[in-house]
């Protein structure tokens, strides 16, 4: 009986997601699952807000996802918890939207993730050659894009600060940076091919 009360203090932050999940699957102790889930509650809530556009519905959705997963998660083979969880949340939201027969908001912009190489290029100086190409391509960028990219990646300003600095709208800042990155990537690839 005492073991009910003298359970080892569960370490909240040291385990990886996958370790914590394994502990839950092994012991069946729902406290592990609660801890794991709560790491992502803000993100889950945010995504639900985005798709359901309603606080109450988003909150209900979060709790539904929690209860469903607590029961079913032990049956899955999950490699990376975060990405798996993300698709689960999205699917749940789509399911709700379909049931209510509302329009599905399809985003063409925001989910285009840039590939890693460009980001690393922009954050580190790898070698002179590549740096030169990069500089060249930067010059070729349209001005707003160049400015935005420069402020974000070289001046380390946040979107809001860039807005303050340039006067561009927030959405514009985001799209300048995104397009700028894409253009840079293409430009660099072309030039790297040539040489």
């Amino acid at each position: 009986m005492l073991k009910f009360f003298n359970k080892n203090k569960i370490n909240k932050t040291e385990d990886t997601d996958e370790e914590l999940l394994q502990k839950y699957c092994d012991s069946g102790d729902s406290e592990y699952f609660g801890l794991l889930f709560n790491r992502y509650t803000p993100l889950i809530y945010g995504v639900c807000l985005k798709y359901l556009q309603n606080e109450d519905r988003a909150q209900d959705a979060v709790m539904e996802i929690f209860e469903n997963l607590m029961l079913k998660i032990t049956g899955y083979e999950i490699k990376v918890f975060k990405t798996w969880l993300y698709s689960v949340v999205k699917n749940h939201c789509f399911h709700i939207l379909k049931e209510n027969k509302r329009e599905l908001v399809v985003d063409f912009d925001s989910n285009i993730m840039e590939s890693e190489p460009v980001l690393t290029l922009l954050s580190e100086d790898t070698d002179i050659e590549r740096e030169n190409i990069l500089n060249k391509c930067l010059e070729l960028l349209p001005e707003p894009q160049r400015i935005a990219v420069n402020l974000f990646f070289y001046e380390d300003l946040s979107y809001a600060e860039i807005v303050d600095s340039t006067g561009y709208h927030l959405k514009s800042v985001k799209s300048y940076i995104q397009n700028g990155k894409r253009n840079l990537k293409n430009c660099i690839e072309n030039r790297t091919k040539d040489e």
């Binding site: 406290e31 609660g34 709560n38 509650t41 803000p42 909150q59 709790m63 975060k82 989910n111």
Partner: protein, 441 residues
């Protein structure tokens, strides 16, 4: 950095930028931020509430298991306590049983303690004031209110006159005033005793109850008996024993062609008055085979043999059965002999099960048989017909299909050909269900 801060609106500074940078590679984060930015509300508070609920739910589930464990333990302890209590109480034996075992002819009848004490005190007072001797005995006027009279239950006829018990053994006040003809016993106790007595009588098919009052009655009977002996009757007495020589108590000795009978006593002894000319008696006892004695001697001992059948006497009602001991009404028992026929026919009362017949060859082989042996009739009415004929038939115990019916036919000739195939085909393994089969043309 705290995403929450960013959500709150802290969009400037290195930490904010860090999150934005992270979001570029993390679609999950991007979507979440978009959600927070497009919908109004106190997100940080909502998030906090959600997290609290989740924490509560995940530890509640664990606690549930805990309380369930505790509840089960509590229930188990309660059950054990109940059972022990019951068994402890069961050690209390009825006076009937203890009387039976100590072979006392008398059974103590109990009245409530306080009542007895009260009455004793009252009588003691009376005794002081009016010392009792026969001459000064005063009838208690409201005695009938206090103690209800009852008719003596005469079932037991003792062979020997037994001793009267001490006054102290019988706790009823009646013993002190019992010199006159009031067959009375303490009312409350009596009722219970009577009920118990009836049940017991049924249980053992006898009654060993004897009250103070009955002795005088029975002694009267005896006088009666001796008087009647002179009218061409004789007394038969003896002992009834079992195969081991042990006396059988409560065996029923009946006079043939008469309603009279008696029971054997504690020692297995009985005595019965019979007609001197036809002294036919029979001895019966549940669990034993009845013994008929056409010409009983004056001293007739009887040995009885145990019967094969179980001793649990069963009363068969219309719709069910009830153990005799649980009935408080009157009961007549079914003679063992008529039951014996019922028991031997057990084999016939098997439950009917439905089984599916199967071909004696494999299904594949049967289908092959159908294909190979099909002779397609070339009759004009069927010339361009094709399809499947569906038949239904039963299989008899020799494995032959019979009662073949066409469920779905094509044309007469095809149907008949299908029937022929089934009839002449391999045998089937018997089953109770009807078989459905298709023959393709």
């Amino acid at each position: 950095m705290n995403l929450l801060d960013y959500i709150k609106g802290n969009r400037k500074g290195k930490n904010a930028r860090k999150i934005e940078l992270e979001a570029m590679a993390d679609p999950f984060l991007t979507d979440a931020i978009e959600g927070f930015d497009t919908v109004k509300g106190d997100h940080v508070q909502n998030i906090s509430q959600l997290q609290t609920r989740i924490t509560a739910l995940s530890s509640h589930a664990r606690k549930k298991k805990q309380t369930i464990g505790l509840r089960i333990t509590a229930a188990a302890i309660a059950l054990i306590a109940l059972l022990s209590g019951y068994f402890i109480l069961m050690n209390h034996r009825s006076t009937m049983l203890s009387a039976h075992e100590t072979e006392m002819a008398y059974i103590n009848i109990y009245a409530p303690e306080e009542y007895i004490d009260r009455k004793r005190a009252e009588l003691a007072e009376i005794d002081e004031i009016y010392p009792v001797n026969i001459n000064t005995l005063v009838e208690i006027e409201n005695l009938h209110e206090v103690i209800k009279p009852f008719a003596p239950m005469l079932v037991y006829v003792p062979e020997n006159k037994t001793e009267k018990p001490n006054d102290s053994d019988l706790r009823t006040p009646v013993s002190k005033i019992a010199n006159h003809d009031l067959y009375a016993v303490a009312s409350e106790a009596t009722n219970n005793m009577q009920d118990d007595a009836e049940i017991d009588a049924v249980q053992k098919d006898q009654s060993n109850i004897l009250s103070d009052a009955n002795i005088s009655a029975s002694s009267r009977n005896k006088n009666l008996a001796s008087k009647q002996i002179s009218d061409n009757k004789k007394m038969i007495s003896g002992k009834v024993v079992d195969e081991n020589g042990e006396p059988i108590i409560g065996a029923s000795i009946k006079l043939k062609n008469s309603n009279t009978g008696t029971m054997t006593d504690m020692n297995g002894n009985y005595s019965l008055q019979v007609d001197a000319n036809s002294p036919e008696i029979s001895a019966s006892y549940i669990g034993f085979e009845t013994v008929d004695i056409p010409n009983a001697q004056s001293h007739q001992d009887i040995a009885m043999k145990e019967s094969r059948l179980a001793l649990n006497e069963v009363v068969v009602l219309g719709y069910g059965t009830q153990r005799k001991s649980s009935i408080t009404g009157s009961v007549s028992s079914v003679k063992e002999k008529s039951l014996s026929e019922f028991y031997t026919d057990k084999s016939k009362t098997q439950k009917k099960e439905t089984t599916t017949p199967k071909p004696s060859v494999s299904n594949k082989e049967y289908e092959k048989y159908l294909k190979d042996n099909l002779i397609k009739p070339l009759i004009s009415e069927c010339s361009d017909k094709k399809g499947k004929v569906m038949l239904e038939f039963s299989v008899d115990t020799s494995g032959n299909p019979h009662d073949i019916k066409v469920i779905k036919g094509i044309c007469n000739a095809f149907d008949n050909e299908a029937i022929r195939l089934i009839k002449e085909g391999p045998k089937w393994i018997y089953g109770t269900q009807r078989v459905k089969i298709e023959v393709e043309f």
